[in-house]
């Protein structure tokens, strides 16, 4: 191997009460892609924040190109060419691409007056070298997530970075956008940049990385060469045991129709959606990000109103004005963003779980706290949720445990239909597997289940039947042995990918909101 660019030695980092990193050592070589893996809350992001100057470690040392460094701010790290591309995108939507690329380091004269022309030209050069098809003067807020990510990568170019850290960059990218990203990453690697790549997606890890370092509970488990290991080994390092069976598929027989959707249409989002779901069945809804699946789900659930079409639920035609109506009729939706739509993070598990069904946990409008605690304890055990108690704010929990609360919240009222939108996004393999088990169990109990997922192995692994969606339309239905990756890809790629990932104006504001509320 080549030269070591960045070394972390025996790093320890604690937050009040939590040891996020304990005596972790780690190094990055020039010209490698180094994967960092581990369960949710293992300390990956924390380690990277330490390396990029966001956090100051409690103990340990960092060497950059052989020199001991002491970063007091991200600026120090950036000045040495170390850049972090965040899990949550870290851009200013109101500023232009150029202003974002050089955020905080704009070329100015002595008096702080911007040199706009120089800024424009430098950015253009950086964008060109990445093959970006947008200009430096576009407002970043109007770009798709993938393009926004390109803006972040352009920073790497612009600052001539020698270490780049990607923290779950593909969590919200489409397949083709991911490919674009990988091309960019490979280019960086060729230029001798040291790259850290964090992801929960195994296929990506094996596709792009050279070495893998695994963390568990803040402890280093070891570093291996990617080509020397397989998925099972990595999984074992991550969770400390073997995963017996990764996917679980519902085994019961499908019963009566629970939901039927006819010609559902919402201008600009989706059109002519027709399908049925039966009791005891898991229906997968596969599509690339932006296909419009979430919107369909939200429309069925009454979050938005369709322009036309019918929804027949449990034998009667329904027209929900709001989720309240849907819930009362026995429908549940586990929304795609647990932070924005799924939970009240500042509050405890007890109130979060019972929120949609308060009438079940109260008498004449007065809360029945005892009953609430019962249900809380029940699901805490059932789903093996790690929490200190019913009032612990959910913001303190790891992503996987938070996700289990979203599930508990929607299961506790015994719905007839449950729609799960990306139920395992950003969730580690261990938790993923247990969520899959839960999903299968639901169907076996006789619920009708719809699972929306952008992860092909997941949809195929858990569904009895799969609908493929692209560009706001259903483009295929598969069941049994037809549920193969190849078939799904073919189905969804019949529509031009580029147009499928263009956000509509309405969604732009939505994306905006999502980012704005990120802490």
């Amino acid at each position: 191997m080549t030269e070591v660019v960045l070394t972390a030695e025996r790093i320890t980092k604690t937050f009040t009460g939590v040891t996020a990193l304990n005596d972790v050592s780690f190094d990055i070589h020039a010209g490698e892609v180094h994967a960092l893996m581990g369960e949710n809350g293992a300390g990956k992001s924390t380690l990277m924040k330490v390396l990029s100057g966001v956090y100051h470690p409690n103990a340990g040392a960092i060497h950059h190109r052989g020199e001991l460094v002491n970063f007091t701010s991200p600026r120090d790290a950036r000045d040495r060419g170390i850049l972090l591309v965040h899990q949550e995108l870290s851009l200013s939507p109101e500023l232009s691409v150029a202003e974002n690329v050089y955020l905080g380091a704009w070329p100015t004269n002595r008096f702080g007056v911007l040199k706009k022309k120089e800024l424009h030209e430098k950015t253009q050069a950086a964008l060109d070298s990445l093959g970006c098809n947008f200009g430096p003067d576009v407002r970043v807020g109007t770009l798709s997530i993938a393009k926004q990510q390109m803006v972040e990568i352009a920073r790497v170019q612009a600052f001539n970075a020698n270490v780049v850290i990607f923290d779950e960059p593909t969590a919200s990218l489409t397949e083709s956008e991911k490919e674009q990203l990988f091309i960019a990453i490979r280019r960086l690697r060729e230029r001798g940049v040291g790259i850290v790549y964090i992801s929960h997606k195994m296929d990506e890890i094996f596709e792009i990385t050279d070495r893998i370092t695994v963390l568990r509970d803040g402890e280093l488990q070891g570093t291996v060469n990617t080509r020397d290991v397989d998925m099972a080994q990595i999984t074992r390092m991550m969770i400390g045991r073997d995963l017996d069976q990764f996917f679980h598929r519902a085994q019961g027989a499908a019963g009566r129709d629970v939901l039927e959707v006819r010609h559902l249409e919402k201008e600009g989002l989706f059109s002519d959606i027709n399908f049925k779901v039966r009791a005891g069945e898991v229906l997968g809804l596969y599509g690339l990000i932006g296909a419009g699946r979430s919107e369909v789900a939200e429309t069925i659930f009454g979050v938005r109103q369709p322009d036309s079409g019918q929804v027949i639920f449990d034998g009667e035609e329904v027209d929900f004005a709001s989720p309240k109506d849907a819930i009362e009729k026995g429908m549940a939706l586990v929304p795609e963003s647990r932070k924005e739509q799924g939970l009240i993070l500042g509050m405890g598990g007890r109130v979060n779980i019972t929120l949609p069904h308060l009438n079940l946990f109260s008498k004449m409008g007065i809360s029945d706290t005892k009953k609430e605690l019962e249900v809380f304890n029940y699901y805490r055990e059932q789903l093996e949720i790690k929490t200190t108690g019913p009032e612990q704010p959910l913001s303190d929990l790891s992503g996987g445990n938070q996700q289990k609360f979203v599930l508990a919240k929607w299961l506790c009222a015994d719905p007839k239909l449950i729609i799960l939108d990306e139920p395992t996004r950003g969730i580690d393999v261990g938790s993923k597997s247990s969520i899959h088990k839960i999903i299968a169990g639901l169907a076996e109990k006789g619920l009708a289940v719809i699972v929306i997922s952008s992860e092909m192995p997941e949809v195929i692994g858990v569904s009895n039947r799969i609908l493929a969606m692209a560009n706001g339309r259903l483009v295929g239905e598969f069941s049994g042995d037809d549920m193969t990756e190849e078939n799904l890809i073919n189905a969804v790629s019949e529509v031009p990918l580029e147009s499928a990932s263009q956000p509509s104006p309405d969604d732009k504001t939505k994306i905006h909101e999502l980012k704005r509320t990120a802490p």
Partner: protein, 307 residues
Amino acid sequence: MLLAEQHIWVFLGLSLLLFSLASPYFLTLNNMSNLLTQAAFIGLLAIGMTLVMINGEIDLSVGATLALACALAVGLQSSIGVWPAIFVALCSGAVMGLINGTLLALSGMHSFIITLGALIGIRGIVFIYTGESALMVEDFSYTEIVEVYLGPVSLTALIFLGFAAFFQWMLTCTKHGREAFAVGDNAKSAHEAGIRVKRHKVINFVLCGTLAAIAGVLLSMRLGTAEPNAGKIWELWAIIAVVLGGTRLQGGWGSVWKTVGGVLTLAVLRNGLSLLNTPNYIELMVMGAVLVLALVIDKVLGFGHSK
């Protein structure tokens, strides 16, 4: 869309038109000159408020800061001379801004709380300093300092417009200006990009306090007197003007230029209604209604920036 983004000017144009038709005294040179001068005080507060609000913060203490500067400018001139008194007055504004900003940076409290406290407290200081009665200049020639006109435009109005132009330029063409948006838009990413977010905000609070003090000094020159109650609830008018101008309350977007539009619109409404002999209560109701209307229009036009 252009219309939507520029609707404050449409608003201003309409009110100008309306009052010109309604009152023969409205569109006179003399009245326009008065109007500009009258607008300048809220205007100076609103410029500072715009900077702070682009950062996603708010400064409720500007009215009290104005009163303090006004009191110091008047109260100190007999002992240390006019210009030193003015200097001290301006410094007081900077210091109040510094206190607000520093408390914000150190404590991590929301500026609404910090400056609400300051609004009450600074007013207390003013009352203590003035002994709760109005201070008066000894030499009324002090009030003549501002009686300089460039054509129909008074010195006070010129100072206001000058600062507006300067800060608009600063926002669009300087590093500090771009930082202002970055900080308000996404403070975390700004911080991680190495922008000194706290220091940046402190600077803007200092600027805001100083502009309030400038307004205070100008007011002392206008009135020749410092009332302990001067500038009471002017912070609200300033905020209203800024919002009318379309600056987003959550930060990240705004323009001093359009704030000027907001300030002028308010001034036209007040002046016009007063020339029309409108009873006070109508004036108050109209002001309230206009404000809500502005929000509704904003919403209906779906002007993406001001959510």
